[in-house]
């Protein structure tokens, strides 16, 4: 009886251990292979939705350099996934358990994947790592990889929003190009002066601005809309009041006409905010795509409100690690290399349209200096760009951010369309949005 019990116990322990190994993914296969293979997920077209034909160039160069420095490690990437299919593809791979060790991730998806516990929390790894220099990265870029106080991804490249200016109209109206530290008021004054019926047919045909959203205005006035966890909304206060007031006044100038991007393309609008990547893509150098042939144009940082700076939102492409990956340590090293190696980061300026997330690289980048000089803008300096990235606002990462922003959008639209006084509207909507957030959190 005793012997039988012992045999049964040993069998049970073996099967139990075997099953747990089977579930957690066997490290045995890793020992059998001579080299460590790290896989990385990337999309075949540009993150900035601009076709340039160099989508894998940076990755190829980085892999070549890294593999030569680290013998025994091989890095593979999965090619051919388009950006629009990328999320679905990645989700499928994660569910199937075949997801790559590392993957690129648009920052707006970060909280979904972090919430689903699919990506690795890097905070401890970073804090324990003496060779990781957080200070070399733009603070805003690092912040975009943070979810609920923990770092879930490292930034790979980023792009701030900038203001496109139709220089031709300004010259016609004899208005000087504004400085890099221009304000809400400068913006409004220029818009007021250029909005008119230039051909005299009775309806307005020249406008001040299009595509300028409440988010841009809030950003320029240093508004913080939510607390970090997204449980509370701060919709009251003078910063928001001033921003909405600007939007209201700009809207009133157009006398009910809704100005579109098409009007800007046709050369009838002075200002339009755009991602820096779009600016780069449409500049004649280094890629010869000239979209706006009919007018001269240039770009500026976003205008500042009386409480804020000339900053905008930052769009960041992140690199995240698979929580169920097999070679996390090696993957983390490569991740650090891809985001922190100056040579690789500087290739962003050659083969992509974003800005490097490393302060050093962006500030010393010759290509960029060339680019900005060629555009003939004396007022747009490289340190202005660097400052724009550094101080950029980061989209908060919390579960339900999109839904919450829809509420804010509705609130702004309601206040703009209504007759009521702005601050009253703010108080009413603040209460309403907070009630919704509270209800959602109870769920």
């Amino acid at each position: 009886m005793k012997k039988r019990n012992r045999i049964l116990t040993i069998c049970a322990i073996l099967v139990l251990a075997g099953t747990i190994l089977f579930l957690t993914g066997s490290p045995v296969s890793g020992f059998l292979r001579k080299e460590t293979v790290i896989t990385i997920g990337a999309f075949s077209d540009s993150y900035w939705e601009v076709q340039n034909g160099y989508s894998y160039q940076i990755l190829d160069d980085a892999i070549e350099k890294y593999e030569s420095q680290h013998p025994g490690i091989r890095i593979e990437y999965v090619s051919g996934v388009m950006k629009e299919d990328y999320n679905e593809w990645l989700s499928e791979q994660i569910l199937k358990g075949t997801a790559p060790d590392l993957f690129f991730m648009p920052e707006e998806n970060l909280c979904e994947f972090a919430q689903a516990d699919a990506i690795e929390d890097l905070t401890d790894r970073m804090n324990d790592d003496a060779s990781f220099y957080k200070d070399r990265y733009y603070t805003a870029a690092i912040r975009s990889g943070v979810y609920e106080g923990a770092v879930y991804a490292l930034p790979f490249e980023c792009a701030p929003r900038l203001m496109f200016v139709n220089k031709t109209i300004l010259d016609q109206e004899r208005i000087a190009m504004p400085d890099g530290d221009w304000t809400f008021n400068d913006l409004y004054q220029i818009c007021r002066r250029v909005t008119k019926d230039s051909d005299g047919d009775g309806s307005l045909d020249q406008f001040g601005i299009t595509g300028y959203t409440y988010e841009d205005a809030f950003c320029g006035n240093g508004v913080t809309l939510f607390n970090e966890k997204g449980t509370e909304c701060y919709f009251t206060g003078e910063r928001i009041e001033e921003s909405i007031s600007l939007l209201e006044r700009l809207k009133d100038l157009n006398q009910g006409y809704s100005v579109s991007e098409k009007d800007f393309d046709e050369g009838n609008v002075v200002f339009m905010p755009m991602l820096f990547s779009e600016y780069r893509a449409y500049k004649p150098y280094p890629l010869s795509v000239k979209k706006y042939a009919g007018f001269e144009w240039q770009c500026l940082p976003m205008p500042a409100g009386s409480y804020g700076e000339n900053v905008s939102n930052l769009d960041t492409l992140l690199l995240a690690m698979n929580k169920k990956g097999n070679h996390k340590k090696e993957a983390y090293e490569f991740m650090k290399f891809l985001t922190g190696d100056e040579e690789i980061q500087s290739e962003i300026f050659t083969y992509s349209e974003g800005v490097s997330v490393l302060r050093n690289v962006t500030e010393s980048e010759q290509t960029l200096v060339q680019l900005l000089t060629d555009s003939g803008s004396g007022s747009f300096q490289i340190d202005t760009l660097s400052r724009a990235v550094e101080q950029a606002a980061v989209y908060p990462n919390f579960d339900g951010y999109e839904d919450a922003m829809k509420e804010v959008e509705e609130a702004v639209a309601d206040i703009l369309n209504g007759d009521a006084n702005i601050s009253t509207g703010q108080i009413i909507w603040n209460r309403r949005i907070n009630a919704i957030l509270k209800e959602k959190n109870i769920k």
Binding site: L8, L16, L95, Q115
Partner: protein
């Protein structure tokens, strides 16, 4: 009794089967749903709603099956010690919880199975109740909405959203039916277990009662035996007295009658014919001698058998050896004399004193060590029998001791008893070498 045990084991096996089908069905269902989401291209939509990434779809049913196999193996372990029982139950909880985890905590009935197995063990140890408590608490909280977030993956409802509304309702309904069925079976199992235990207790009570009755009967039989023994002693005494009377009458009586008649004749003849008297006295002496021989023969019949067959020293050796063997008492025997030249009654009393003292030491003194010492000094033989038994505070001479003393005094000997450190009997017999033998 046996019938009930069989029933509870049968219910347990039924519970095993039922749980196997339930967990496999849910495991396959979850696996199919996740695969369905992947196939339909709504993996991202699905991932947005989960708390953590579930295990790979094909692994879920396989791992559920393997964990169930672990449980089956563990259920086979029986009659174990406390440590093994604890380890075994710990592993069962682990395997059960793992199955719950894989099934997204949509079914925790497997823990009832573990509980049923723990209840199967008969002995009521402290561990058993502790573990039953722990498993009970784990069972109560093994629900998707109660477990810590870190254990959650996707809820069953979330997985089943893959199916059409009516199919989903049917599947969820079926799961609820299965949960209730499992619960009912578990209750039935516990009921049978309780019945079984009650029967067991009753059986023990009955057995005790029967034992008590038998004891009473035995006591009575013992009492009757004692009475019978007393009576049979009395009978033997009477028989012996009768035999002695007959013997005396037949031998001594006859001889004495002859001697008296002869002596009377001598009285009359002594003056007339002194020569004839001489002749007559010689005849009378012959008769007396003959009588003596007869008496000796009669007395012989009362001597111990051993003394009849061998010498005293050998007989003593043999008796002591026999006593050693039969009572496992440690007996130390020493003697500085070959013990020859004693007459029969002296031999007999030496033999009887030693026999009686040993018997007393073992029976009354409960001794396990006895020392027998026979020494001859000058004209005195000293026999000392001492033991390490309980002795007795106040030496009251019983029949045995009294009898010994009586017989010793007939030989001008003495008996001395003391009860310090066990019990000691000391007998002194003066040696009458050269005296005429009886």
């Amino acid at each position: 009794m046996k019938e009930a045990k069989k029933t509870s084991e049968r219910v347990f096996r039924y519970l095993l089967n039922l749980n196997f089908w339930i967990i496999m069905a849910i495991g396959i269902l979850i696996s199919r749903s996740i695969n369905g989401y992947i196939r339909e291209g709504s993996a991202h939509e699905f991932l947005k709603g989960v708390e953590a990434v579930p295990e790979m779809p094909y692994k879920i049913p396989a791992a559920v099956f393997l964990f169930y196999l672990v449980l089956l193996l563990l259920f086979q372990i029986r009659e174990e010690g406390e440590l093994l029982f604890f380890v075994k139950t710990g592993m069962e909880i682990l395997a059960g919880l793992s199955i719950c985890y894989l099934l997204d905590f949509s079914y925790s009935g497997i823990l009832l199975l573990v509980l049923a197995d723990v209840a199967r063990k008969l002995a009521d140890t402290r561990w058993k109740y502790l573990l039953i408590g722990i498993i009970g608490i784990v069972y109560l909280f093994a629900d998707y909405y109660l477990v810590p977030d870190m254990w959650k993956t996707a809820s069953l409802e979330m997985c089943l959203n893959y199916y059409r509304g009516d199919v989903r309702a049917l599947l969820l309904g079926m799961r609820n039916v299965m949960v209730s069925l499992n619960l009912l079976t578990f209750v039935a199992y516990i009921l049978f277990r309780i019945r079984e235990q009650i029967n067991e207790k009753q059986r023990v009570v009955e057995l005790n009662q029967r034992l008590h009755e038998t004891n009473l009967q035995l006591e009575e039989a013992n009492h009757r035996l004692e009475l019978y023994a007393e009576e049979s002693i009395r009978n033997a005494e009477t028989r012996e007295r009768n035999r002695l009377a007959r013997e005396i009458h037949d031998t001594l009586g006859h001889t004495l009658t002859g001697i008296i008649a002869g002596l009377d004749a001598c009285c009359m003849l002594i003056d007339a014919a002194p020569d004839a008297v001489k002749e007559q006295l010689a005849v009378i002496a012959d008769v007396a001698r003959k009588g003596m021989t007869d008496v000796r023969r009669s007395v012989k019949a009362l001597r111990p058998d051993a003394l009849e067959k061998m010498e005293l020293s050998k007989a003593l050796d043999e008796m002591i050896e026999e006593c050693r063997k039969s009572t496992k008492t440690d007996i130390q025997y020493s003697c500085n004399d070959p013990l020859q030249g004693f007459n029969q009654d002296e031999e007999e009393i030496i033999y009887r004193i030693i026999q009686e003292s040993m018997t007393n030491a073992i029976r009354h003194g409960k001794a396990d060590h006895i020392r027998i010492d026979i020494r001859k000094e000058y004209q005195m033989l000293t026999i000392t029998v001492s033991d390490n038994g309980i002795g007795c505070k106040d030496v009251k001479k019983g029949f045995g001791l009294h009898h010994m003393e009586e017989r010793l005094s007939m030989l001008q000997g003495s008996l001395h008893c003391s009860s310090e450190n066990g019990f000691t009997v000391e007998a002194k017999i003066p040696i009458r070498w050269g005296e005429e033998k009886m």
